[in-house]
């Protein structure tokens, strides 16, 4: 019997996930479904409609008086209760959870309401009165560096808040001696993988101990735990963070929950009850986090044979309005790998961090890699084109040579293992590159726009906690050297000998529980189903460290190792106990099939659960020096993660996988749509722990990369208005847009991790946008292209910019010209059955005007020709109350008047102007009007598609009411055969009649 024991390890097998049953039946409790204490209150946030505005005053008295409201907090209140957040660089840039003094981006929280339910809390937002003084905003990162640009932080005096220069090898010499210098500007847009579940925070202040108990779908890194504790002014042991086992995606974004954690803690302290907040989608898109957009100017020193001898980078990374820890991580996390997959010994770098009036940046999957590789791989493509070489030959010529591992890259990365040449050749053969080239040639012969792109990427995993210290000069770093990355996992055996595992990896869909069950099962001779894995984390009960969390492909080369170490400890302990009964030395025992047995005599065996349980039941019989019970924690920090050296070299990550991609794309000449004909992606991620899950990571990264390359961008107007507040505006790829890539694997184990595994979750996010960019440039024979490569952008490249349709003819509102904020323009005309004098009097009489303005609750005359009104307006389902101010000028009674002013409310703000002209005609007054309105805030962000129609409706309603005010209802203006009044027909012509 015993020789039939199946000892094939579970690690390496594509076993199905232990997580799936509970997820598929809908019984998994995500954060919003975690039980709450009776009496828990709910928070809603008032957010700035302006990209840059001084907060002159906030009146919260009306909101506080509303039913169910228990507290309203403003930024000013926060400064009295908490400290500003610590930031990574030394600059006077104060950041609190709510805007203090001024708001710096659309969507920035300005006040928070706590009420008995979310509906009531949102009701009360409308009653908070904020007076803003709007300032000029700066959106473009390059313009933000120029003198005279609006400044976000007056105390700093410059939007560029950090500049560092680095040099490795002899870059100047290499450039001087180069045959050619080839340059490229590679802009990378703002985007985010936008997890389907947003932020959730549940915070409870415990007055007796002055401590906080928080449950949240936070994802670490726990470097921000001390940041939160310091802001709250409590020791970190009194900020208990609990993270549930299931989280609806993270992709890096959910580290940026931390300002909201602090905010809810303070709300709970003020309200005296637990407070819960659930982020909605608009809040997420406008204010959670975006990957920093970057402008990279990159140059290569090259020889005529295609050898690259040096790179020079000028990276301008845009962090939006606030520098939240661990920003500017994306600029430094890839630092050691700035020479990509290439053997290039000379490197010069300038890094600048710039602040603009946009959502603060954050960690997003890829974490600086997509921006960097888009520049490097686009440049390598250019090198080939300029030298008349094959792009793949240029890649091959420069790859880090096989046999040189571990390889120290110029800026300090220590590539652990690999054979890039073999990976490339295998992919060329197994993916059918020659066939793809034939397809291209045939397509081109048919007159089609077809291109092939390539990219190679070194994919880092498990960040060195010291990577950000390179932002400081070496002298300063020496005082406080930082490095390492600690991981923890615990294996527990209970009195009945059953095994459970906890770990510090905070999964968000990656299947960590499954992989940990495989690792522990192998070590203890059990099956994955025998292992209960609980992925919740509780900082007051579990082992954790600053590196704890789920980011930078950390799991497969860190927490797995800690779990393995913990399982080995358990195995050793159990083996020692068993060795007494079995009378076999512990090191000659094997574990399999739930049994422990002598290697040379499998019949001499004991059940695992009996031996393990005995550590609880009969502690007296344990070997002399052994502690009773079995609960072992594995802790690990790889020695290779050293602090940066004095030459600014840093091994930014522990393991480095390799990715080689190529693809064929065909571009529709008429629509500009990029069709991916074939996509091949080769990965060497070391040992694969579970190939099914590894492929899942590749598919997922690839899918988002398609979004980055073709669809996704957080769009802003020049005035800082946010234009992508819904999933109808921020376009995520869906099933028809994401082809299935051909995934190939090669497994060169890491020499620095006991299991040989490397990361795999980020590679395609780095390789695919560059690969598709190269293919599109190849298809169109163009030098540069910016992402996302939308049909309109590509067709503009094919056909040159389209000329806008002639103005004047169109009565409908015209869309805004590209590059400005949400601007709507329109004009129209109507006839009112009253004399111009009467129409004029109506327009000037506050009472009558109040009855004419749609949704007007009150209208006061505040000056000779100035009015203030309180109106309700809405676009689609987004409705709200606004304060409007209207000034009349250029008055020529009763012929013409100019109206200007603005509206402001929680849903947004607008300013605009219009002209109204009255002319006496037979049967009344002919009215003509035109208007231009600029809109910002929530309405601009979510209502883009509906705004023009809505403006027409509101203006139509205005005239409809004017008609009835001056007696139009009874006007015998004639009826159509169908019984419609003329007015109804006119209104219908405007698209507003019923």
């Amino acid at each position: 019997m015993a020789d039939q024991i199946d000892t094939k390890p579970y690690v390496g097998q594509s076993i199905e996930r232990v997580e799936d049953g509970i997820l598929l039946t809908g019984r998994a409790r995500f954060s919003d479904h975690q039980p709450t204490v009776t009496g828990t209150l709910h928070a809603a946030m008032l957010r700035s409609p302006h990209a840059h505005a001084e907060i002159v005053s906030i009146d919260k008295s009306k909101a506080l008086a509303m039913p169910g409201v228990s507290a309203v907090l403003t930024g000013q209140d926060l400064t009295e209760m908490a400290s500003a957040f610590l930031i990574v660089i030394k600059q006077p840039m104060q950041h609190y959870s709510l805007a203090v003094g001024k708001a710096r981006y659309v969507g920035e929280p300005v006040a928070v309401v706590v009420a008995t339910d979310r509906y009531k809390a949102e009701d009360a937002l409308d009653a908070i009165e904020v007076e803003y003084r709007v300032l000029d905003a700066i959106v473009d990162p390059q313009k933000a560096t120029k003198p005279g640009a609006p400044i976000l932080y007056e105390e700093v005096g410059d939007n560029v808040v950090s500049t560092r220069e680095f040099s490795y090898g002899e870059p100047d010499k290499a450039f001087a001696e180069a045959d050619r210098v080839i340059k490229l500007t590679a802009p990378y847009p703002r985007n985010s993988q936008t997890p389907m579940e947003g932020f959730v925070v549940n915070a409870d202040y415990i007055a007796d101990t002055d401590s906080y108990d928080v449950a949240s779908n936070y994802q670490g890194p726990f470097t921000s735990h001390p940041v939160m504790a310091l802001a709250l002014g409590v020791p970190s042991s009194r900020l208990r963070m609990r993270v549930p086992a299931f989280s609806g995606g993270g992709f890096g974004v959910k580290v940026q929950i931390f300002p909201y954690v602090v905010l809810m803690c303070l709300c709970s302290k003020v309200a005296g009850h637990p407070v819960k907040w659930v982020e909605d989608r608009l809040e997420h898109l406008s204010a959670a986090a975006a990957a920093p957009n970057r402008v990279t100017e990159i140059e290569a020193a090259v020889k005529n044979d295609g050898t690259v001898t040096a790179f020079r980078f000028d990276q301008l990374d845009d962090y939006g309005a606030y520098l939240r820890a661990p920003m500017p991580g994306p600029l430094y996390r890839m630092h050691g790998t700035l020479t990509g997959a290439y053997h290039i010994e000379n490197l010069a770098v300038r890094n600048r961090v710039v602040m603009t009036n946009k959502c603060p940046s954050g960690m997003i999957r890829g974490f600086g890699g997509p921006q960097m590789y888009f520049a490097i791989e686009r440049l390598m493509h250019r090198v080939a084109v300029e030298l008349g070489l094959d792009p793949l030959d240029v890649i091959r010529k420069n790859l880090v040579p096989a046999g040189s591992f571990p390889y120290r890259a110029a800026a300090g990365a220590l590539f652990d293992s690999g054979d890039y040449q073999t990976a490339v050749e295998r992919a060329v053969n197994e993916g059918g590159l020659e066939d793809l080239k034939r397809r291209r040639d045939a397509a081109r012969a048919d007159g089609k726009l077809y291109g092939i792109g390539y990219s190679v990427v070194v994919e880092p995993a498990q960040s060195n906690m010291g990577y950000l210290s390179n932002i400081l000069p070496a002298e300063e770093r020496r005082k406080n050297p930082k490095g390492g990355a600690v991981s923890n996992a615990t294996v527990n055996v209970d009195p009945l000998g059953t095994v459970s595992v906890t770990a510090d990896s905070l999964p968000q869909g990656q299947g960590h529980a499954t992989v940990l069950s495989q690792i522990v099962a192998d070590e203890l001779g059990l099956t994955p189903a025998d292992i209960s894995v609980n992925m919740e984390l509780d900082t007051q009960k579990d082992a954790w460290s600053i590196a704890t969390g789920n980011y930078s492909a950390r799991f497969s080369s860190s927490t797995t190792v800690a779990a393995h170490k913990a399982a080995v400890k358990v195995r050793n302990k159990v083996a020692r106990i068993a060795s007494v009964t079995l009378n076999v030395p512990a090191d000659q025992l094997e574990f399999a099939d739930g049994k422990i047995f002598a290697a040379n005599n499998p019949e001499n065996s004991l059940k695992f659960y009996r031996v393990a349980g005995s550590a609880h039941w009969t502690p007296g019989s344990l070997p002399d020096d052994m502690d009773p019970g079995i609960r072992e924690t594995g802790t690990w920090s790889p020695p290779e993660l050293e602090p940066p050296n004095d030459q600014d070299q840093i091994n930014t990550s522990l393991t480095y996988g390799f990715v080689f991609d190529y693809c064929g794309v065909e571009i529709d000449r008429d629509t500009g749509q990029v069709h991916i004909d074939k996509y091949v992606t080769m990965h060497d991620s070391g040992t694969l722990l579970n190939p099914l899950l590894a492929d899942g990571q590749v598919y997922g990264a690839f899918s988002w990369a398609i979004g980055c390359a073709l669809f996704e961008e957080f769009a802003y107007g020049d005035d800082g208005s946010f234009l992508s507040g819904t999933f109808a505006d921020y376009l995520c790829p869906t099933a028809p847009e994401v082809p299935e890539p051909l995934i190939l694997h090669m497994e060169t184990p890491s020499i620095f991790t006991p299991l040989g595994a490397k990361g795999i979750g980020e590679g395609n996010v780095m390789s695919t946008p560059a690969c598709l960019g190269n293919a599109v440039c190849d298809a169109l024979d163009i030098e540069t292209v910016s992402l996302p490569m939308t049909p309109s952008k590509i067709s503009a490249l094919i056909h040159a910019e389209e000329t806008p349709p002639p103005a004047g003819g169109a009565k409908q509102a015209a869309p805004a010209p590209a590059g400005t904020g949400r601007v709507i323009k329109g004009s129209g005309e109507t006839t009112v059955p009253a004399a111009p004098d009467e129409v004029w009097r109506t327009l000037l009489d506050p009472d009558k005007l109040a009855a004419v303005i749609p949704g007007c609750h009150s209208l006061d005359k505040v000056g000779d020709d100035s009015y203030r009104a309180d109106v309700s307006l809405g676009v689609g389902v987004v409705r709200g109350r606004f304060r409007a101010s209207v000034d009349m000028s250029d008055m020529d009674p009763p012929n013409s008047v100019r109206l200007s002013g603005g509206v402001q409310g929680p849903l947004g703000a607008s300013k605009g102007a219009g002209n109204v002209r009255l002319k006496a005609v037979d049967g009344g007054t002919h009215v003509t009007y035109d208007y231009t309105v600029e809109i910002s805030g929530k309405v601009a962000a979510v209502g883009g598609r509906m705004l023009e129609g809505a403006a027409r409706i509101v203006i139509g309603q205005f005239f409809q009411r004017l008609v009835s005010q001056v007696g139009g209802k009874t006007a015998a203006a004639g009826t159509s055969p169908a019984g419609e009044t003329l007015w109804q027909r006119i209104l219908r012509a405007f698209g507003i009649g019923r």
């Binding site: 598919y699 899918s703 299935e740």
Partner: protein
Amino acid sequence: MSELSGTARHNISFTLNGETVSGSAEPRMLLTDFLNYELGLTGNHVGCEHGVCGACTLLIDDNPERGCLTFAVQVDGRDVKTVESLAGREGDLNDLQLAFRKHHALQCGYCTPGVLMSLTAYLEHTPEPNEEELRDMLSGHICRCTGYVGMVKAALDVVEQRKAKA
């Protein structure tokens, strides 16, 4: 539909996963909020609250609908099914759920209930779709984790299985 007062709570009663449930809701309360907060269901998820992502999809009188675009009072007297209705009483997964597990069609699992409900209804009236049709149908859902590959494979697998059984 009769007119409801905007501020009062209204009694509603409907069939949820085969059982009659009742409660009261203001007219503005979303069905998703009612299911989650009033009835304590955990399977229905909200991803956007504006009808685009599909995470909240459930069946009303066997038609797939967005829970986030439905008010609770609208389902008074009707039949509502959520993902909780798919597995057997003992938690045994149905063929679609099993295929999702086999083909790794879910990662975080947040979008999954909505996708399962759409597919359930779709495969009822389109039992033999091809891949293109399936992908087209799935375009009503956003999944940020999986790249949709597993979902397509799982659904095609179920189509084959059901065909073999028929």
